[in-house]
Symmetry: C2
Subunit: 425 residues, 2 copies
């Protein structure tokens, strides 16, 4: 390999569905990345990706329908797997054991043991394992993180979030479109997708660095949304007959409330099987103020007006008015250089966060303890739902080190502390 | 007594604080009501009310600091007690045992047994006992009830609500202003005020009439809001020194999730000790659509546009645009005759609902089973919080009759079924 090639991050991309292909296209635009190898269990998706790489690089990447055959591609640095939920953990374990950085698309674990396996393997191999939670890099979420770290909300007390998205089409058409959600929804009941909401919240609350999640309770509603969607679309899509009259195990709405060691509560809503506008349902409350995503607004003592004599002393103020002053420096720079990539730029930023950690051989801003804690919520939520809302303990994946673990405050993509003013990004 | 006087509802009003006095003023405007007797444990409040009655009626009402001395005032029909939370149940029991209709201002129970006592006493005496949940008669809530009963939301699946109101001043100044909240917040931890949210929701979900609440889990955050408020107002109000450095038992945010027999989930937030704009946080989701109070908006298939091909098929539409078509007939009539009374008219409507039931000697639209079920949530929430979020069973106060109890569909103020079109109100 030439010296120039050496500087690039050599990546194995596993999972080339619609989502994986979009991420591949984004990666192919980065001149410090070499997509060295690609994998999908479906041959057509694999060939589609091979052609896309060849079109840009002028040569084909290594390719296989079995990722294990690709872990020893020469020069490989890292793996990223936007594959189906239930494949994420094994891929990451195999990657770390092969001496590679591991990154997984979001999704929850099916057992707590899986999360321990990730932690122990990362500790043993010294390789980071990053859950690619793009919402941690959302413009609104990063601005709020910045405001939290500046102390504007005072002492944090309560947070809410959700994955509130009408996915009935994606779910019910799963067998037609080779999408993994359908089988999960037919068989599992719990918050199977908690990290878009809990990821940013965990960063606000310093989870695993001075705080941790202690326990949760989950309660699931009945399941009617998908069954009804199938019935009403049978004529349009006769292929749905296969799942017509099937009972879905997944409750349409699963509500999870988490208690943290420092006393905060977090309420999460998994809500993907009923008609409703999209929302991540974020809300954050501290001793000095509140942010509510659905109103795209804040009300914070010291920043927004208060009328103590009124029965309703506080009003909402549009967050847009505060971006100029409080926008996170990472986003400020990103905006000025032109926002790139899907999901409003979040995808680009989370990829860069991972790739630059690989390049610099540093810890990832979402580390294996974050990954394990966030993913474990799915398995624990299923347990609690199965036991009628019984509280379940959330393991301390840091083995007690959360008490004294310091926030990582260096690095462009750090999510633990506000970047120092004037620091070059 | 003259025949004319006989037609009036003779009422004993117990509790003459700021809230009680406002209700008294409203009652004194009604020409079919006779405030025959008034009571407050504080002599100054009592005399203030006596004078107010005398000013309007030209004669003094019966009056005492002990309501038990007033239960045998001649001709008395009914009691209404906007007194402190922990006095409500005993007043209602004594009223029913004296052969009177009983009505209580909102608030929760301190034990489940209290709720059974209300039920058994009502059954034994044949006297109704109505929780005066004014929010059941809110314009927005009644419109949604109308839309629910018309089937527009499809099959209901999930509801949320809350009492989200910065009450730090009222709470912390409790000993100064003789307000009951302070002692409750210093000593209790749970959702002490669930009925503004759960009342309307229970009516949407046909609780106690074809459905019931089965179990709940409650989790409480830490308590920091009131302690901080006291500290920051010590200079302004030196009387606060008495509670400076006291620990408040009440978590700033208490999250409760209820599971219903027909499979629905209800999540309630008690959130009164942090700075935030007022909200009852209502949200209702069914197989066809959603209502969200904080956006004052709906999105309902068949009514609002859907773009099935979009990643986000639904949008929010301002509820105001739908009032004309779907407003509840009771509110339509009320508005055309001129909205009266506090809290946007709700107070007037709930009073009329009670008083007309007394006048007509009919069942109250919120009956003793509603009252018991809703009030029990407070005691049960405290139990669950005390046990770390353990699920607790919600009793079936109907002794199994909920399965076949029919909705009350008659009466101007019925909350169980949409009034028949064209029916005279």
């Amino acid at each position: 390999m030439s010296t120039t090639a050496k500087k690039k991050v050599n990546l194995l991309l596993i999972g080339l569905s619609k989502r994986g292909k979009a991420l591949l296209d984004l990666l192919l635009e980065m001149d410090d990345v070499n997509v060295a190898a690609v994998c999908d269990v479906y041959e057509d998706r694999l060939q589609n990706a091979v052609q896309a790489v060849e079109k840009v690089y002028g040569k084909k990447p290594a390719a296989s329908t079995d990722y294990r055959a690709l872990l020893d591609v020469p020069g490989l640095d890292a793996v990223f797997t936007p594959s189906s939920w239930t494949s994420h953990v094994q891929v990451c374990l195999d990657a770390m054991n092969a001496g590679l950085y591991a990154a997984t698309e979001v999704g929850g674990a099916t057992s707590v043991q899986q999360c321990w396996d990730l932690v122990r393997t990362s500790e043993k191999t010294g390789k980071p394992c990053m859950l690619m939670e793009n919402c941690c890099y959302g413009q609104e979420e990063l601005t709020i993180l910045n405001m939290v770290k500046l102390g504007l909300f005072g002492e944090l007390v309560h947070a809410e979030g959700g994955y509130r998205h009408d996915l009935r089409r994606e779910i019910c058409m799963g067998h037609v479109d080779r999408h993994y959600r359908l089988d999960n929804y037919l068989h599992r009941n719990g918050d199977v997708y908690p990290t878009h909401d809990v990821g940013p919240i965990a960063k606000y609350l310093n989870i695993n660095r001075g705080n941790r999640m202690l326990s949760l309770v989950s309660v699931a509603s009945k399941s009617v949304g998908n069954e009804a969607w199938v019935k009403s679309h049978l004529q349009q899509y006769p292929q749905l007959e296969e799942i017509n009259n099937r009972d879905f195990a997944m409750g349409d709405v699963v509500v999870t409330t988490i208690k943290c060691a420092m006393g905060e509560t977090i309420t999460l809503f998994h809500d993907t099987s009923l008609p409703r506008p999209y929302s991540r349902g974020n809300l954050l409350q501290g001793s000095k103020g509140i942010w509510m995503e659905d109103k795209h607004s804040i009300s914070i003592e010291g920043i927004t007006p208060v009328n103590e004599k009124s029965w309703n002393p506080h009003s909402w103020y549009d967050l847009n008015k505060f971006y100029k002053k409080y926008e996170h420096p990472l986003w400020k720079k990103f905006r000025s250089s032109g926002v790139k990539g899907g999901h409003g730029g979040m995808d680009f930023l989370v990829l860069r966060a991972y790739l630059e950690a690989v390049r610099d051989q540093t810890q990832t801003p979402i580390d294996v303890y974050d990954t394990a804690a966030w993913m474990s919520l799915t398995a624990l939520s299923e347990e609690s739902v199965a036991m009628g809302g019984h509280p379940v303990a959330i393991p301390d994946f840091t083995d007690g080190r959360w008490i004294n673990r310091e926030p990582i405050v260096e690095g462009t993509y750090c999510l633990n502390k506000i970047c120092k003013p004037g620091r070059k990004l």
